[in-house]
Structures are given as C-alpha cells and as structure tokens.
Amino acid sequence: MNIIDMTIHELHTALQGKQLSSVEATKAMLARIEAVEPQVGSFITVTPEQALADAASADIRIAAGKMDVLTGIPVALKDIFLTEGIRTTCGSRILDNFIPPYSATSYEKLKERGAVLLGKLNQDEFAMGSSNESSAYGITRNPWDLTRIPGGSSGGSAAAVAAHEAIATLGTDTGGSIRQPASHCGCVGLKPTYGRVSRYGVIAYASSLDQVGPLTRDVTDCAIMLSAIAGYDPKDSTSVDTPVPDYTASLTQGVKGLKIGLPKEYFIAGLDPDVQRTMDAAIETYRRLGAEFVDISLPHTDYAVATYYLIATAEASSNLARYDGVRFGHRADADGLLGMYSKSRSEGFGAEVKRRIMLGTYALSSGYYDAYYVKAQKVRTLIMNDFTQAFADVDVMLTPVAPTPAFKIGEKVNDPLQMYLSDIFTIPVNLAGTCALSLPAGFSNSGLPIGLQLIGKPFGEETLLRAGYAFEQATEWHSRKATI
C-alpha cells in the first residue's frame, strides 16, 4: 500500500511493525506535497525541516517502545493554530511576519504524542469564508475538481487530506468551517461540542462559536485525533472539565435501535437533487442497519444565519482589534497614531474581514446594541432550546452538510449573501454549542463528494462517531480517492 494513501491506524500498524519508519513516511508525504501543491494550494507554509526532525525523534521513540498511536504520523494544521517559532498567518497579510512565541494547546497535545508537523494549511482569512477564496495566500483548489473551491474556512485542511498531502489535519469550525470543506472534499470532519477542545493558542474569530476539530480519511482516525486533542485546559476558561473517553473504544457498537431525527427545516424544497438523493440513500442505509427515524422540527432554523452574522461579527470586531500594528504583525508607515492604525489595518485586512469588522462594530454600537446584538443572543437561546427539545426524542440528527456540492471558484465571490447561505445547515450547530460530524455519503452526477451531517447531543461525540463508523462500514464512499 502506498504510504500517502494510508490512514492513521494503517500507518501506525506499519510503524509499529517496523515495516517503515516515520522518516520514510514523512519523506513520502513531503514528496507528495511537492508534487501536487502547485495544483492544489493546501499549504501556506510547508515545514520540511521541522517534519524530518519530528519524524527522527518519533523513530527514536518507536525504537524505545514508547509509541503512541499518533507517534510518527505526519499531520498538518490550519494556519490558525499558533506554532512556536513557525510563522502563523491565519490567512492574513496582517500576520505575514508573525512568528509566535508559544504554541496552541491542541498542537502541544499532538506534539506530546509524537505527531509530525508537515506545515500550516491555507484557510479563509481569519476563518471568515466558506470557499478559501479570502486567503491572502492564494486560493486552494478542490482535489476532486480543480476548478472548484474546497470549501472553507478550513479548506486547506480538507484539501490536504483529500489530496493525500497529510494523513490527518486540524481545522476550526465557527459556522461550518470543518464540516462544509470535509463534505466538499470527501473526508471526515468533526466539530466537537463547544468546550470539548481547548481554544488556547487558536486565533480567535468568534470566541463563543469557535471550536477545534479533526479532518481525516475515516471515522477511526477522527476518533483517534479527538481522543488526542480533547480535554479541559486550565488556560481556556470555556473548556469543560469532563472526562475524555477513548473515542475509538465504542466505534463498533452499531446503530441498532439508534433514534435518528430528521429535522424538517433541513429538507427544504429546492435542495440540490444530488444532495437530496444522497440523503435519501443514507437514510435507507441507516434503516437497513437497524436505526429508527423520527420526524422532528427545529422551528427557529430560519433565523440561524442572521443570528450568526450578528454574533460572530460582533465578537470578531472586538477579537481583531489587537491587530493594530503596535506590538506585532503588519505596521504601515504613516504620520501619527491614528494614521498608523488605519493604514496598517487597511493594508493588512482583506475585504471580507473588513466587511465583518464593520458589521460587528455596527451591531455593538450604542443605539443598535439592543436591536441587533441582544436580539441575536435571545434568538440564539431559542435555537439552543430547539435542539434541547428535539434531543429529548432522538439520539442524533441526520441532515445535509451543505445545500450543494462544491461550487466553482469565483462563483460566489461577489455575492457575500449567497456565500453565507452555504453554511445554512451547519451554523445552527455552532449557535447551539453542540457537536456534529460530516461524513462522506456519496457523489454528485459530476463526481463531486457529498457529505451527510450527523448532529449529536452536547458531549455526545461517542454516539456520533459510532453512528459514523457503522455507516462507513456499510458503504464505500470514504475509500474513493480524488484522481489528482
């Protein structure tokens, strides 16, 4: 088997059996990156020296018999994770020269287990986007069709997995930024429950919605990655102190008797026929596996996108205030303090980021705060209540991830509203703070991957992964490879 085609658990077995070394595996990945990067553009920064050094220490650790399942596994991180001594741009020109003096907790956890860092992945600037077109470091192309977007904002994280440039990656999900690209690129993507994974050292877009999660080739890998990064972090007050199970332990328990809810608001008329057909087939598969389906309703779904674009932009307008040219990042030459501020930020931020800063500033302004921000928070509570009530009757929910398969590069760039609507099925999960899994579920007639979304109860990741694993065992969608 080709090294670059392996999953974490396959490569782990090979490393453990000494069939190959981590250095060999890492070299194979670096060669693959070199070969396909000109077409795909998954990476902002490739770190071959770091990778080979990591791999060499992993091999020592393996030889010493102190191996973890992630030891020696080549992974890559969205460029939103701070990596000490390695440039971290967040897809923005304003951080073009930023070398962080510390690392994100999730990266530290992967390092402790001996994972190998291949580099930093492309993304929408400050995670604001659904197509990776807002990156200051060029677009990322969908490995299944290079004329299409990979999704966003963790587009590089999904494309790298799909193009077999990394065995697994980490992304972040604020309104669908892991699940939508996973769906478009045919990989598995998990947005954990808010508070399940530390946000420390992850550049903030919208603090109350941001969550770190893995993108992988299959569900088992997803469970391995989540087990590694989950857990309470005293450096993140919003991380939750509940025990972390071994998520791989319960994967095989099946879905017999599992109650799956189908929220009617997610199966709207006019849904893309390929997506509709894929959902119908997935429902049939689960039914065959012994799951029960229940029609449910999440009545406030219609307000989710509007609510999200008030809360997320409000938080972003404040979170991005620190990029002022004073202590780090881009500083423009200008006369006076005000000039320096406005010129640095004008030059440093791209159009979408500016648009969201302005929206958020407006929503928080005196005289508008109650009508926008406070109102949005109230609606958010109603959306949360929708989920709480629905979960009284079901174990998980099944919905599409995105209304359409991956769209063409440039198709929605000039229509932000259309772009925003591509997250219509993923955003409510972030507002509710719960977890959801994006799973390869089929292909469009033109051969584009289509994902299905399983939404779980808060801290119900085990159930999600078990349901995902059962589906994966019953289908072969995840084993198809992009032809690049």
């Binding site: 701070l82 510390y102 994100a104 007050s237 705060y369």
Partner: protein, 480 residues
C-alpha cells in the same frame, strides 16, 4: 443666585495580589519594561484570560465592607477602544451585573452629623500598560509601550452623586482609602496610582431638583488635589452659568501645577465603548456560602473597632478615631493594652510619644523599635510608682535609640523613683536650711513659694523623687 454642587466619585483601587487578574505574571512595581509579560497580557493572538480567584475574594471583601450586595452571577464585559497601551484593543471590565452593587458608606460631615453616601457599584477590571516617551523609550525618537502594568487588577468603586462639597468628597475618599488599606487589598499609594480618583461634578441652583450638566474630572491623585479640583470646577461652572453660558458634558483633565481643569474631550468626541459580555470568560458564580465565608474572614472594620475602643476600653471618641486611622496603629495600641498597659495611658503614649518618634524618624508603626510589650512595660513602671511620667520620657527616648527594655534602662541609669520619706525628708531639711528667707515668706502667707521648693527638691533628687511624696512632706514641714 446660590448654587448647590453635586459630586460623584469613581475611584480606582489597585489590588495587592501577587499576580495579574487574567494571567500569572507578577504585579511588582518598577521592574524592567515588559519583563513581567506573557502572551495573555501582551494580547497576543490566541491567548485567553483566566480569572485570578484572589481578585474575586478581594472584591467581595471590599463589597461587604461597604455594605454592598454581592451579585450571585456577575459578568465580565469588553470595553472596546484603540490605544497603544491597551494590548487587546479592549479592556476586560464589568458593565452589566458587576460583582458588588447598592452599598453605602456613612461619613462624618461634622462633629455631630453622619451622612450616608450611596455606592452604586464596585466592579473588577484590568489596568492598561504605560506609554514611555523620550529617551527611555528605546531606539529612535518614537514612544515605547511598557506592558508590565497591563492586566493588573483594579476595582472601580462608583459612588452615587450624593456628595455636596469638596470637603464631603475628601472625607468619603479618605474613608474609602482607610477601608481598602485596612482590608489589606490595596497599598493605598496615591503617588504610584494605587488609589486614584475621577470626579463627576455639576452644579444646580439651591432648591432645584434638576441636576445640572456634569463634567468628569480625570487625574486627581491626592486628597489635596481632589479638594482643589472640585473647588475649581464648581467655581468654573458657576462662573460660566452666571455669565450666561452653559456647562457642556465633557471630560476634563486636572492640572496639579495650575490647580485648574481643562477640556480633554467633549461628549461628541466620547468613545462608544461597544460593551458586550466577554465570550472568553464564563459568568462568575458566587455562592451564598462563599459570601458568608468571606464575611467571617473580614477583619473588624475601623468603625466597629472605634466603637469597641470606646465601649470596652473606655477611650474618648477622639482617641478611638485617631487610633483607628490605620489597622497597624490600632493593632499596636491593642497589643499594648493586651501586654498590661492601662488603656488610656497606652492611648496617650501611642498618640503622643510613639507617633512623634515615628514621624521624626520616618518609621512606620510596623517597624517601631519600641514594641507594644516594651511600651506597656514602661507604662507599668509609671503605674507602680517606679518612675515618674517625666523620667519615663527620658527612658522612652533611650528605648527608641537602643531597643533596650525599660527596666534595664531604669536600673542602669539609676532612675528609680525615690518614695522613701526618710531620704526625701533629708533633702527637704537641707533645702529649707539653705533657703531660710523663702521659708519665712511662705509662712508669712506667700504660698506661691511652694512651687520653688518643689522644684528645688526635684532638682536635688535629679528628678527621681516621687512628686506626690515630695508635696506631702514639704507641705507639712513648711507649715512646721
């Protein structure tokens, strides 16, 4: 027309925690610029605040000591504005639901009357850094930023507009200062900015119930300046109205050099801080048990202690007030009493000799070379007639200088009071014999000469003769 000033104060109290409010960096003053910083207080991307529990404990203590209710679920908010000393572009503070609400302080406005001043709220927040200009700012001719102070914990204590004069404002401020230093939550150093004050001031015609437009005066950092700034501002506003002008809502800066205030920014230029709850911090939940535990841990407050000094120890109100000026002074006094000194005598000496010696030498009461035990021992020597009050002062000076015990000094220098009537009679006889003329004068009715004889006897005894015994013997002998 007569005008009534209306004043409210906002006081920033820097808390005496070892570490900052949202990270583990030291709060020490005066270190190398930016040496006490980390990703959190530098506002680096990805860094997150974690609340220092000590700050909450201090805030609860301050709230309970000012009769506030403690909010069971309080919220941190972001106050958004750009300034180079503010690393994140927002200050983490509290806006809606601050930790302490609706309290008061009773202040003494004159000898008889107390007045209740409402405290609207007390909230927790982080301080900003400092801009450094000129040569010390590093290479080039620009300005530097020192973020050692960034993220240092502050309480902001906001009063109701209940104060009516600069004097009331100063009394209120001093009382608040006394409480926070007494609690040990603030060092009270106004020069270093550990206790600083902004004043909101307006005037209205006497008898009116319509408040005038207020100006906020910033940067008043001593009791003297508070008085000056408020008086200047009241007069400025009155003059303005009398001349047919109107007061505009604005922020003004006090200039201690000229004693005047000048406009800093108008209402139109005021920031829209866009407060909203900080999503990086969860709501702060404070249980009733926590509040009760804090209440149990509170030290006896100045007012309560004053009361006890008067009722239990029989001190006059004046003494009780002076002795409770600081907790250390009150502790000193009580330790002296506990060591066996009589309350009034310890009080006199603490307010008198001790305070004088401390002031002369610039020593704090905690560092007094004469311990309360030693003071009590000295006073016992007076009480039991070993030495006179006058000799005691000499002994005290020696104790202060050498740190020796009073008994030792008395013995070494032979200062024991002579009460033996035989010895004193001998001295009296000698003096009467040598001053026969004055004896005649006394016996002839000129009783003022008595003082002369007392003086002579004391002098002959080198001050050691017991004055009471001298008086008694001298009188009987002179009357012969």
């Amino acid at each position: 027309m007569k005008y009534q000033p209306v004043i409210g104060l906002e006081v920033h109290v820097q808390l005496l925690t070892d570490t900052k409010i949202f990270c583990g960096c030291s709060t020490k003053f005066g270190s190398e610029p930016n040496s006490q910083t980390c990703p959190v207080c530098l506002g680096l991307p990805g860094a997150l605040p974690v609340l220092n529990k000590k700050v909450v404990e201090f805030a609860i203590k301050a709230g309970l000591s000012t009769n506030c209710s403690i909010t069971p679920r309080s919220i941190f908010a972001r106050k958004n504005y750009f300034y180079p000393d503010l690393p994140k572009g927002y200050q983490i503070s509290q806006f809606e639901d601050p930790i302490c609400q609706r309290g008061w302080l009773d202040i003494k406005v004159d000898e008889q009357d107390m007045k209740r001043i409402g405290i609207t709220r007390i909230h927790m927040e982080e301080d900003a850094g400092k801009l450094v200009h000129g040569e010390s700012s590093g290479p080039g001719d620009g300005s530097g930023v020192d973020l050692n102070r960034a993220c240092t914990p502050l309480l902001e204590v906001v009063s109701e507009p209940d104060l009516r004069s600069s004097d009331e404002a100063v009394v209120y401020l001093k009382q608040l200062h006394q409480i926070v230093t007494w609690l040990g939550i603030c060092d009270g150093n106004m020069e270093e900015g550990s206790f600083r004050c902004d004043a909101n001031i307006s005037v209205m015609p006497v008898g009116s119930s319509m408040l005038g437009t207020r100006a906020e005066i910033k940067n008043v950092n001593s009791f003297k300046f508070v008085k000056q700034a408020i008086e200047y501002e009241i007069q400025r506003q009155i003059d303005l109205i009398e001349d047919g002008g109107t007061v505009v809502q604005e922020t003004r800066l006090f200039d201690p050099n000229s004693g005047t205030t000048r406009s800093m920014r108008s209402k139109e230029e005021a920031h829209d801080y866009r407060y909203f709850p900080d999503p990086d911090l969860v709501p702060l939940v404070i249980s009733d048990e926590w509040v009760e535990r804090s209440r149990q841990e509170l030290p006896e407050l100045p007012e309560q202690r004053q009361h006890r000094f008067m009722v239990e120890l029989g001190l006059p109100p004046y003494d009780a007030e002076v002795l409770t000026a600081s907790r250390a002074l009150a502790d000193y006094f009580e330790a002296g009493v506990a060591a066996g000194g009589s309350a009034k005598l310890v009080s006199n000496w603490t307010m008198g000799e001790i305070t004088r010696a401390l002031n002369d030498s610039g020593t704090s009461i905690e560092a007094s070379p004469v311990t309360p035990q030693q003071l009590a021992d000295l006073l016992k020597l007076i009480d039991n007639g070993t030495i006179s009050g006058k000799i005691a002062k000499t002994v005290f000076d020696e104790m202060w200088r050498s740190g020796k015990a009073p008994q030792a000094i008395v013995e070494e220098q032979g200062l024991v009071q002579v009460s033996d009537s035989g010895a004193i009679e001998g001295l009296i006889d000698e003096i009467m014999a040598a001053n026969a003329g004055q004896v005649e004068e006394f016996r002839g009715g000129k009783e003022k000469v008595f003082g002369f004889f007392v003086g002579q006897v004391m002098k002959a005894s080198k001050g050691k003769a017991n004055p009471a015994v001298v008086n008694e013997l001298l009188l009987s002998k002179l009357k012969g």
